[in-house]
Each structure stands twice: as structure tokens, then as C-alpha cells.
Symmetry: C2
Subunit: 435 residues, 2 copies
């Protein structure tokens, strides 16, 4: 479904969108929900373009986006996510046309620019939608690394290559990029048998993930086939699944992580749509010989051919001392989403396979995106191998886990020869001391 | 906080509320959300009284409930749950007064009865609120029974007596009592190592639980002390945590139950408030000698004295054949909520202890309520000991797990000498074949 909205030669009248380094060129057009910093406008839907934001309510009111589309006027992306892919494509085309330099709509928009365009730096972003949240465990490299620390004789459990392992997360504690995160307290035990004490988390970690925002609805009791599951993906964001490793180790048996995860989950504010990502589709991870094939409900020819996305995700770190010294953040890991063992389409099909009703605004985390090499490890637990191999920072500081004042910055981008690179913006958070 | 609203001698002008067998006497006054069956009224808040429902919107509009209370006019209990306990008590007092036989408000209400009172049988009930859903594992008897099937040498993991074990559930698939439940499909493996097949669940189970509806809010990053956690309980309902045991066995390691639970969770429609339950508070489960004391953040004198509720919960079963033969449902188990290892106040304090933001409309399941005796086992997994000891029904049928057409009916009641017994109504669901 690659079309003229992906044409790398098209330019926008918003000059910053033509900067080769921007995350948000005309070919991206991610959706988000913003407030004006002065409080005059709250919870409005916009599209990022260069360092500016197109206010879709104003643009629609000014007739720049064709016939009135009620879904644009809600203060959430949910009503847009609730539409069919044909509507998503149609909105994308209208927004693209209005932001192009060489169209009638674009020329009208230039005249209206003071009404419809806002500097991104003056806006406060919101969580795009909020329904249920599920986190998966789709990187076999992450699962193998973590498993080998805890079960050296059996790093991967027998179900891993059959079942897309996932668990329900906490939706209320999803926060938008930029929200500081308080270090949690909780039960911690020095030994597997206890006794625990209640205290401040000492092994605070991040996890680099992609988050998939779901579109449409399947009724309770009605599964989604692998063929139709593909249409349930509205778009992707960056997701930081903050994790308290010491709490997790003690609490997670037998029912999974709970307080170790639910104190905060950060998402980037701009949802990069599946339409924008169409050129970056690719074949999924090639399972090594000997691995089982996915069961029929989890595979079809389309997914095998183009179910994955060629997206690179990175974690950057900047400590309080680095900020004080003017040392820029450093990239501590980088991994490819195409190395995930399961595609988002498979995650959707699996999630709904028992009849669970997924709906617009649901968020599905990929789980930590790690890869085969050391530099691909998407969390400190892996990077420092459970704290045994400290990370040495440019200013001489060392980290095993996160200190108060540390800022974690996730970045992501999709690249392909012959296409404009599109980015995800940032998903950031500074660690605050325990309250 | 026992007051005149609990006086067993008070009678209602609604005659059915004075029936000694009703679940909903004047002393109960549970809240729910209803639609009129003809569609004329949708999502309105009401209070059950005998076999009738007081429409709080009409009652308020007619001046029967004192000053205008905006929270009553929403189509959800969430705005009521969002209030402080003083407001909950005030509403209860006004409703009680309006339904009493011997008050001015009651006499006015009698004249308005055709406007404000509706037969419960003509209403369709709704899920009372929907935010996040967490399920706990608070019965040590249940945990020990289940653990001894899967780990005979170590039925209880070392963390159990320290951590109130819980996991996030799926909020979107919570359904109200009476909603049929489709048998799910999923991955099933005959052996722990696989390979699995994808097919129809053969070990479908129920779990008898109490559900706690949360009131008020604590901001993200701000824990709730055990002292204030008590005020976060709005009320209780019955909850059936339908479980696909064969799916669960295969999928649950290492991150907990997922598709085995998220195909449906049923709740009873009437929320029995903490005010109604005040006379039935009691000391929590007496930990055997040798068990650790709860850590300080999980205990205080008030909770140790009266943190539990003296509520009996029962599971009843009626198969399709029993229905056809006119055989009534039979009670297959009965257990006491006071036998739970943790109180709801402890569950709230633990849940928020790391800073997780609980809010009005959150639902916390207790986990299966089981007790020390065979007849106290709150699910078929325990009752039939993993299917090895079939249940023999009055008509000669046997059950290890649920068949299509089986109806599960949960009931609950609180009793105390010198007080009216108050009930929870029913939480029912019939198993439909897989779609």
C-alpha cells in the first residue's frame, strides 16, 4: 500500500519538515493528542510535521481536510483508531495534501498557518488513548538472555517458541514521554526463600519496547484471524516498560510481574501509523532450523512475507552529572524490531484467539527489543548481565542499574533505500527519588 | 460505623424488602447500573430494594434524596465511587430514609412509587464501572491446594505468606451476571514439553471470588497507607474468574495467566457497599503459629481487629440436563471470606505501595475463596482434584470440568446475630460452545 504520500521527493511548506534529520517529514505524519501550554486548548488531536504540529480541529474547521470527519474532534485518538483502515488512509491523504507545497490545499493552508500550525515546543503532549494494556515478550534474544540468568540449564521454557508469551499490564499508570518516574518501594529479598524487607528499589531498569496501538473492535467471543488481525494495527510508538528488578524477582512467582511494572510505563506521544510504515514492512525473523513453525492460527503468507517492520530502536542514557557537565546523552543499545520472534499481527491474532475483545485504544507492548549482539540488549538487566558487568559512561561514571536523576531516552526510526527516513520522536523519563 | 440504617427493626414500604429471604432488605441498599428492557432508559444508577429497584435519577429529580447530588446522574457508578466515604454514607442515609415506611420522605416516595420504583425483573443490568482490573490469590487454602497439584514437594512458594500475590487482569472482558460465556479455544499441550495443538478448551472452570470496587484516587507515585487504604473500598460484588485450565497450564510460565483468563470475567450487578457491610466486619484469618507477621506497611490495629468480612460465598451448578428435567441447581461449594489470608485493605495498601494509582472504578478480585474443608473448595480444579475425583450430580451426571450448557451461579450473604442478613444477589453464566 505504498502511494504518493510516501514519495520522497514531495516537500512540505513547513520548512522544518524538509530537514533531512527531522523525525517528522511529510512522509511520516504521526498522530498525537496535545494541550496548549497556556491551557487555552486541551486534548486536541494533531499531526507532527517537522518541529510544528498541525491542529486537526482547526484544519478541519478551515476546510483543509475535506468533508467533516467527526472522529477528529474528540480529545483522544480512540475515535480515529475506531475507524477502518480505509478511513485512516483517507485522513492521511488529506493531511498530506494540506501540508504539501505544491497543492491547492497546501497553498490555502499556508495562508491559514497561524491558525492551524503550532510550534511543537509550546505544546504539552498527552497519552494518545487509554484502554487495556498488554505486554508481550516477543524477543527471543531478550527471553534467552533473561532466562539464562535465572535458569542456566533451560534458558527458554518449552512454550516460548509456540506461544507468544504475554501478560496484562496496568493501563492507569501509562504516562507520556517527559513524565518523571518515581523510584518505587516494595518487598525485596536477598535470598529466594526470604525473609523480605520493604524498602526502596535498588535495581531500577528500563526496557526498550515498541507499543502497538490497536484499531477497530472484535466482539467478545469472536477471535480475529491472522488475515484480519493485520488490519487491527493502527500504529506504533516507543514504550519504556520501567521495571523494578529486585521487586520482580521476589514477587513474580507464580502469577507474573505485578508491582515490579505497574508504577509507570512511558510511551512516546506520536503514533506512527501503519500507513506511514508501509514502505518499511519486511519479512519477519527467520526461525533457525529446528524451531517449530507457528501453528496455523498464527501464520499466513502475507505475514510471512511482510509481517515485520524494519525499525531500529535505541536506548540513550544521561545521568544528572552528565547534564551538569554538559555531556550529551549516549546511546547504550540499539536493536532491530525485525529480530522479534513474533510479529504484531501474530500478537493480535494470539491475543484474540480465545475470544478476548480487543478495541480501539488498546496498547500492546512488544516486550524488550533485543538482538543477538551485546550492543543489541534492550535493558540494563541484560546489558550489565544482572549487574555483574557495569556500564562505563563517557564521564567515568558507572551504572549497573538506574540512579536517581538518570534520564532514559528511547529513540526509533525506520529507514529504507529510496525512502525518507521516518522517526518516532523520543520517549523520555527522568528517575526521581522514592517518595 | 453501625447506625440506624442497619437497624433490623426498620421496615420498608416496598413490601418485598421485608421478606426475610430477600437479599436486598432495607439494611442492604446495593448500587447498580441498569437499562430499562424497552430501551427507554439506558445506563442509570439504581438501588436494589426487595424485588424492586429505586431509580436514583428519578428519586433525586422528585426531591426524595435531599440536595442535588450530581454524581447520581452519570450512567456509571464511577462518579459515586469517586466521592469520599462521608458522601457514600450521606447517600445511603438519604436512600434509606426514602425507602422507610415511617418517614416523611418514605410517605412522599410511596405517592411517587410508579415514577421512582421499577421491578428488577424488567431491567437489564450493566457492569457497574470499568477501569483497571487486578486479580489476587488471597486464599491460602486455594493456593495450597493448587500448589500441591503442581508442586507436591513445595505447595506454597516462599513469597506467599509475605506478598499478597496478584496479577493484572483484562478489564474489557468483564461481563455482567447473565452474560453467556463462550468456551474459548487455545493452545493445549498433553505434555509439559509440548508440542501443543490449537483447539477447544476441555478443562473449563469457574472460580468463586469476591470483587472489591475501589473508591477515590491516589496519584501516581503516591502510595496509600494501611490506615487510609480502608477508605478506598467502595463495596463488594461476586466475581467469577472463568479459567481455561488446559490453556493455563501450558501458557502461564514465566509471566502468569493470560488467555486462560481473559475470555470472560463475570461480576454480579449489585455492589454491596462497605456501609452496608459494616456490621459484618470481623477479625481476619488467624495466621498459624510459625507464619510470619505481615510487614508493617500491611498491618495496623484496625485491620487486625476488623479488616475482614463475615461473608459466605457459594457456587451452584445446573447442567442443561438438570434444566430440562426441572432439577434445581445444587450447591457444590461454600466458603467464608474471613478465611482469606489477606484483607481487602491489605490488598489495596499492597497494590498502591509502589506508587500505582488506583482509582474509582478499579476492580480487585480476591482470588478463589476456598477454605480448609473439601466442601470449601471454590473451583472445580480443587473440588475434583484436577479432574481425578468427579463431582456426582443429583441426576446422576458427573463433572470434572464444565460442559457446554452448564450454568454456574455464585451467591453470597453476610449474616450476624441481631442483624438482617444481607445478600449479594447472583452472579450467573451459562457456558456456550466454542464459536
Amino acid at each position: 500500500m505504498i502511494n504518493e504520500t510516501h514519495d520522497p521527493d514531495q516537500e512540505s511548506w513547513v520548512e522544518s519538515a524538509n530537514d533531512p534529520d527531522t523525525d517528522f517529514p511529510l512522509q511520516n505524519l504521526p498522530f498525537g493528542v496535545f494541550d496548549r501550554a497556556n491551557g487555552a486548548v486541551q486534548q486536541r488531536v494533531g499531526v507532527a510535521i517537522g518541529d510544528q504540529v498541525l491542529d486537526l480541529v482547526e484544519a478541519s474547521a478551515q476546510g483543509l481536510l475535506g468533508p467533516h470527519e467527526p472522529a477528529l474532534f474528540s480529545g483522544s485518538l480512540e475515535p480515529i483508531m475506531a475507524q477502518r483502515p480505509t478511513v485512516w488512509r483517507s485522513i492521511r491523504r488529506l493531511v498530506s495534501t494540506a501540508l504539501r507545497r505544491d497543492t491547492d490545499a497546501g497553498r490555502r493552508a499556508i495562508e491559514l498557518r497561524t491558525r492551524v500550525l503550532l510550534p511543537a515546543s509550546e505544546l504539552t503532549m498527552r497519552v494518545p488513548a487509554r484502554r487495556d494494556y498488554t505486554d508481550f515478550y516477543a524477543s527471543v534474544f531478550h527471553a534467552t538472555n533473561v532466562g539464562s540468568m535465572f535458569r542456566p540449564d533451560q534458558p527458554l521454557l518449552p512454550n516460548y517458541k509456540w506461544v507468544p508469551i504475554g501478560y496484562h499490564g496496568r493501563a492507569s499508570s501509562i504516562v507520556v514521554s517527559g513524565t518523571p518516574v518515581h523510584r518505587p518501594r516494595g518487598q525485596i529479598s536477598a535470598t529466594p526463600a526470604g525473609p523480605p524487607t520493604f524498602g526502596v528499589c535498588r535495581r531500577l531498569d528500563y526496557e526498550v519496547e515498541l507499543g502497538a496501538w490497536i484499531g477497530g473492535y472484535n466482539p467478545l467471543g469472536t477471535p480475529e484471524s491472522i488475515a484480519t488481525a493485520r488490519d487491527r494495527l493502527f500504529g506504533l510508538t516507543l514504550l519504556n516498560d520501567w521495571s523494578a528488578r529486585d521487586l520482580q524477582t521476589w514477587e513474580y512467582q507464580p502469577l507474573g510481574p505485578f508491582l515490579a511494572k505497574n508504577f509507570a510505563t512511558s510511551v512516546s506521544p506520536w503514533v506512527v501509523t501503519r500507513e506511514a510504515l508501509a514502505p518499511f514492512r519486511c519479512a519477519p525473523y527467520q526461525r533457525p532450523a529446528g524451531d517449530p513453525s507457528p501453528l496455523p492460527y498464527l501464520t499466513d503468507a502475507v505475514d510471512q512475507e511482510s509481517g515485520a517492520f524494519d525499525i531500529v530502536v535505541e536506548a540513550w542514557l544521561r545521568t544528572a552529572a552528565m547534564r551538569a557537565q554538559g555531556v550529551p546523552p549516549i546511546c547504550v543499545s540499539s536493536a532491530r524490531a525485525r529480530d522479534l520472534y513474533w510479529t504484531f499481527t501474530q500478537l493480535v491474532a494470539h491475543h484474540a484467539s480465545g475470544g478476548c475483545n480487543l478495541g480501539a485504544g488498546d496498547l500492546l507492548g512488544s516486550g524488550t527489543v533485543s538482538g543477538p549482539a551485546r550492543e543489541n540488549r534492550g535493558c540494563l538487566l541484560e546489558l550489565t548481565w544482572r549487574g555483574t558487568e557495569p556500564l562505563v559512561l563517557p564521564n567515568g561514571e558507572q551504572r549497573t542499574f538506574l540512579d536517581d536523576g538518570d534520564e532514559v531516552i528511547l529513540r526509533g526510526r525506520a529507514t529504507r533505500e529510496g525512502f525518507r527516513t521516518i522517526g518516532f520522536g523520543e520517549c523520555t523519563g527522568i528517575v526521581l527519588p522514592s517518595t
